[in-house]
Amino acid sequence: MIETALLLGRLVLGLAGVIIVGCLLVTWLAPAFTRLEKAAAGFGLGALVITLWMLTLSGLGECFTLPLVMLPPLALVAGLWGGKKLSVARLSKRAGFKAQTFLRPQTPSPTPYGVWDWVFISLLAIFFLLATARAVMYPVWAWDAIAIWGFKAKVFYLQGAINLCGFEAHNYYPNLVPLLVSYLYLWLGQVNDHLVKLVFPLWGAALLAMLFGMLKRLGLTRTQALGVTTFFALNGITFISHLFIVYADLGMTYFALGAAGFIYLWLTGAAPPRTLPVAALCFAGLAWSKFEGPPLAVTILLAAVLTLLWLRPPESGRRLASLAWPVGGLLLGYLPWRLFALSHGIETGSDHILGFYWNQLFKALPALGRGLINLTQFGILWPTALLALTAARRKIFTSPLLFLALFLGGNFLALLLAYAVAPTSPFEFHLYLRATLDRLLLHLAPLAALVIGEGLKFLETGEAMPAGKVLSSS
């Protein structure tokens, strides 16, 4: 019992390390983020920085040790944060007022929590209690966790490096999740594949906190934002399952929300200043989480470009040029691993496109429709999102809501096309569909929650986002 408590303490320290690194980075990049937003974005960005650093260490031929993995990224972000704090303090001293008043906007006194707030908070608390218990009580058992993510994490920890010699476990897949788990094994001092799963409910909580923050930024009240967040979390088993099965799709979903959600806030003018650099790092996380990350990132960029070209806001050219931030982020997440793979002779597997199979397209089309209305997988999330888009249909072509519609619609189309060209045998195709569709829809699901938030705002107030114009914020 004491040993378990000690292990848990070490694990908590490891998780705190991730959050501290990420929070310092977010505070340095975007000081106007609220504490909740900093913690939510900080978790993912901390994981990104630490795992990219572990990749660098492996590239340099250094063996993973806890001080070597932890201290340099911590020192770097602390230095950046401290340097900025110091320069702001100097600036404010010269100007003759306190740095605090310069940095922090005046916030009104908090509204007391209402009944509905407590209902939603209680539901989320029960949800996390169950998900956390389910995660830490059972060792890794799900197929991809045993075959790929958890296996790689064990190998990287035992080898002290990204060493893929002697096995084939989709070696070309990006390694954010395995390296994050290896980093926690370093803290634990052993391979403990049930306690380590605590990271996944925490990651899910960060995702929900990020979603809640975005909904608030879009103008929803606290109760509404909590309601939509709860609605997303507790609709169907897909999201909750990914809080304990140790797949990389939770990371993908988190970074997809960060990348697309922050871009959407930026398009609506609701984003705090300097949101784009944070969004850029989410693009990096997207590319470093899964092989499907870069294509998804490209669809976000494409939707943003099309939205700007269609709406033609003031300073369209400057805004289009600002998208260089996410492009840079995408390259940051994609190139280091590609360079490592090339230099270490890791072959990039690819599903060779041999042809366009109409029969697969015709099978995928109803499967996608069924997936969207599958009560077990996503509850009523997708039909509600469709309803919200219908409710705000007049605003789609005159507001940044177009971005969300393009992103979701474009990705549904991309899914169908991907299934149409997938090189699977006819008797395997339905299994392939069944095994992948819920995961692919999960990547997009938080954006459906943003659509629902916009629809709710439209229904409750009669107006949605700033119509016909895109405000300047970054």
Binding site: A133, I237, L459
Partner: protein
């Protein structure tokens, strides 16, 4: 900084009763509540199992140790040095091969079908200096490759009870010149 609309609305809640939600919102909330019931039903077995395990302190590694396949694999892990190479005879779709690889790492893992012919099995043994063969299913008869290895004396059954069969292999006894 521009005042957020949400802040304005939050403050207004103090002074007036919030308006009744739109009928569509109420309908969706009702459907959501019904869906929550369905979700709880979906997880009923997990909740019950977690409660029992929490009560009896049978969680973590104890969960894995209830699985006969894991017990067998763990026994093989205890009886084989970490540096060896083994062949696991199974079909990938059964999902047990990935478990064996996970638990037996850092031992070098090679997968062959149980029906592997002698030529393929012998080539793999020779090429990779294989010293163990693990067949996942003890109930099925040995495939042609394994039968040939047994007949040659290159594979010797190990007494490790479990759902599968384990063999010690001497690659030096496979001298080549064997054709299917």
């Amino acid at each position: 900084m521009e005042k957020q609309p949400s802040q304005a609305r939050d403050t207004s809640c103090l002074t007036r009763i919030p308006p009744r939600p739109h009928w569509l919102v109420r309908l969706i909330l009702l459907l959501f509540v019904l869906q929550l019931g369905w979700l709880t039903w979906q997880f009923r077995k997990d909740i019950s199992d977690m409660a029992q395990r929490g009560w009896s302190h049978r969680w973590g590694t104890a969960v894995r140790e209830e699985d006969p396949f894991y017990q067998w694999i763990a026994e093989m892990g205890r009886n084989t040095p970490p540096g060896v190479t083994y062949i696991f005879l199974d079909n990938y779709e059964a999902g047990k091969e990935v478990e064996a690889r996970y638990h037996l790492y850092p031992r070098q893992h090679l997968l062959l079908l149980p029906e592997a012919p002698p030529s393929l099995l012998f080539y793999t043994i020779r090429q990779n200096n294989v010293t163990y063969i693990f067949d996942r299913d003890a109930k099925r008869p040995p495939g042609p490759g394994l039968q040939a290895a047994l007949a040659l004396g290159a594979a010797q059954p190990l007494n490790l009870p479990g759902p599968g069969r384990a063999y010690r292999v001497n690659p030096k006894l496979i001298t080549g010149g064997f054709y299917d």
